[in-house]
């Protein structure tokens, strides 16, 4: 058994039992962050804060929400919005955060792509991040079912129908997922469970994995410089703070991080208080009706690009293209054959690939929102083909890249 002495202070008492000083060093004051980074490196912290906002607002919503097809709609639109004091606040925080979190995820992803932060030992950071993207998508979809409005119902109908696999006609699988022939009580109950328990548990586990995957390769920097963290941290601890290329995570880097978080929160709560409408689809303020399809069904903005890859093709090819779009980002570290871990601006053809991909996804998003007819249909079709072509081209253009 370890030897314990009479504690000299409360801190010492905990220190003997939990090694809090050591933990603080490992997690914060001696966890090293490069100096040559910019505000885009604060997106991870913003995501953590937004997740916390979702969790807290979700806990309060959970106390009044009723997962029952006859009560769900009113429990949200009447009880929470009209009866519960500040119920509107929790709902608007939850709705706005669910939308904004995807904006930040996309910025976080494209920052990683631009600076090559998925290469040379950082593959697991990328893969665990992509798993988080998938679980967040599932979390967003399951949450979208809960108000049981028209968009909830029909999105549930369309998305679960995807599992019939087109010409495979796996209707049994679709009925199994729903627990009924159509989305009904069993469906609402199980998606409620997924939304408030199973998927959040998976997200928490994956956040742990995402952080752990950063520990050995460390954070990338904006020059793609390979930093000897061992040597630089020794320099820092020896007193050469100006000469060292790294700083402490806490409190030094955190103070800058939280500055960006502060700016973000002002923007976030501006949306919550004055501009929450964008996160509240008007069609979803009609109660679910299985005998009436809304005139135009579209997903929330963050799913539009992949929806547009599904839409312009015939059903089977569309499903294959859609499945391709869902998984292909996972393969990025292995499709990028270049030896360079440097910003896209210094990587020849990859620079054009990056901007083409970003613009193509914005075009797909825009085309996913408009009705599928005429010129929009054509633009969407070509944008979807461009998306697939860009991924096929990636190994070839990066293979030809010269080592810098």
């Amino acid at each position: 058994m370890a030897h314990f002495t009479k504690a000299t202070s409360v801190k010492d008492w905990f220190n003997q039992r939990l090694a809090i000083e050591k933990v603080e060093k490992v997690m914060g004051s001696e966890y090293w962050i490069p100096k040559n980074i910019n505000f885009l490196w604060a997106m991870g912290m913003i995501l953590a804060i937004t997740f916390a906002l979702l969790l807290v607002s979700g806990i309060f919503l959970l106390m009044y929400y009723q997962p029952n097809v006859n009560l769900a709609f009113d429990s949200v639109n009447y009880t929470i919005m009209k009866e519960v004091d500040f119920g509107w606040l929790w709902r608007h925080i939850h709705g706005v955060a669910a939308s904004v979190v995807f904006l930040i995820i996309y910025i976080h992803m494209f920052t990683g792509i631009y600076y090559g932060s998925y290469k040379k030992g950082r593959e697991m950071i990328w893969i665990s991040g992509m798993l988080l993207f998938v679980t967040f998508s599932a979390e967003a979809f399951s949450g979208y079912m809960l108000p049981w409005g028209q968009m909830s119902y029909w999105a549930g109908m369309v998305i679960t129908n995807l599992f019939s696999g087109g010409s495979l006609h796996a209707d049994g699988l679709v009925e199994w997922i729903r627990g009924d022939y159509v989305p009904a009580q069993a469906f609402l109950n199980r998606f409620f469970m997924l939304h408030v328990l199973l998927i959040p548990l998976a997200i928490l586990g994956l956040i742990g994995l995402h952080f752990a995957s950063l520990r050995i390769p460390h954070v990338n920097n904006q020059d793609g410089e390979e930093i000897d963290f061992e040597a630089e941290s020794k320099k820092y601890l020896a007193g050469d703070k100006a000469g060292s290329k790294v700083i402490r995570f806490a409190n030094d880097f955190m103070s800058k991080d939280m500055m960006v978080v502060g700016v973000y929160l002002v923007f976030f709560f501006y949306l919550v208080f004055f501009n929450y409408d964008f996160a509240m689809d008007p069609v979803n303020f009609d109660p679910a009706d299985g005998l009436k399809t809304p005139a135009h069904i579209y997903p929330e903005w963050y799913f539009l690009w992949s929806y547009e890859i599904l839409r312009p093709f015939s059903v089977n090819i569309g499903l294959i293209a859609f499945a391709f779009a869902q998984v292909i980002f996972f393969a990025l570290p292995f499709l990028d054959k270049s030896p360079n871990t440097i910003p896209a601006s210094r990587r020849g053809l990859f620079k054009y690939w990056f901007w083409a991909m970003l613009i193509d996804m914005i075009v797909l998003t825009a085309m996913g929102k408009v009705p599928p007819s005429g010129v929009f249909s054509t633009i969407g079709f070509w944008a979807a083909l461009t998306f697939i072509a860009l991924w096929i081209a990636l190994p070839f253009i990066t293979k030809r890249e010269k080592a810098v």
Binding site: W154, M157, V158, N161, L162, G166, S167, H169, E175, W176, I177, R178, G179, D180, Y181, V182, A184, A186, R190, G290, L291, K292, T293, P294, A295, H296, I297, R311, F313, S314, V315, N316, G318, P372, S373
Partner: protein, 174 residues
């Protein structure tokens, strides 16, 4: 050596027990997600076919899904092709189009336009004719016909009659 092989055996024995348990647990979990017996038992609808007007679409409900019932005009019956006639349900002298009112693409409900005698799905622009056959993709096939049985002037949805079996065998519906 003796110890390690003993531990190896214990590990394998545990693995076997846990494996059986895992398979059993997965089976139970799968069955728990199945539609309940009460859901399955509520799956029959009886329609009185003498009550419909010509070229007027009526939407009935079967297993929570919309069912399109369209009584065809004599003009429609006269001009339709063999394939279109094959989809008809004949009760007495009357021809009916009866189908599940969900687009076979991704399950939206198409709308009927009596002047154009056809259906348009607003979700992805699919079109069907008055027999429920595809006029314009993306829908991969015509509207599905629910299992039915003709009982005099009545139609029982959910039960399988000889006319439905014939349609299924001829590949008219899934």
């Amino acid at each position: 050596m003796k110890n390690s092989s003993r531990r190896g055996f214990m590990g394998k024995a545990f693995g076997a027990v846990a494996g059986v348990g895992a398979v059993g647990a997965l089976y139970a979990m799968k069955k728990t997600w199945d539609p309940l017996p009460s859901v399955k038992a509520a799956g029959f609808t009886t329609l009185d076919m003498s009550a419909y007007n010509e070229n007027e679409l009526v939407v009935e409900k079967w297993r929570g899904k919309p069912i399109f019932v369209l009584k065809k005009t004599a003009e429609m019956v006269a001009k339709q092709t063999k394939e279109q006639t094959a989809r008809d349900i004949k009760i007495g002298d009357n021809h009916f189009m009866v189908s599940i009112g969900l687009c076979t693409h991704l399950g939206c409900i198409p709308a009927y336009n009596p002047d154009e005698e056809g259906f348009l799905c607003a979700c992805h622009g699919g079109q069907f004719d008055f027999s429920g056959d595809v006029k314009k993709s993306p829908p991969p096939r015509g509207l599905d016909i629910p299992p039915f049985k003709i009982v005099g002037q009545k139609l029982v949805l959910g039960e399988v009659g000889p006319e439905y079996t014939a349609m299924k065998e001829n590949g008219i519906t899934l």
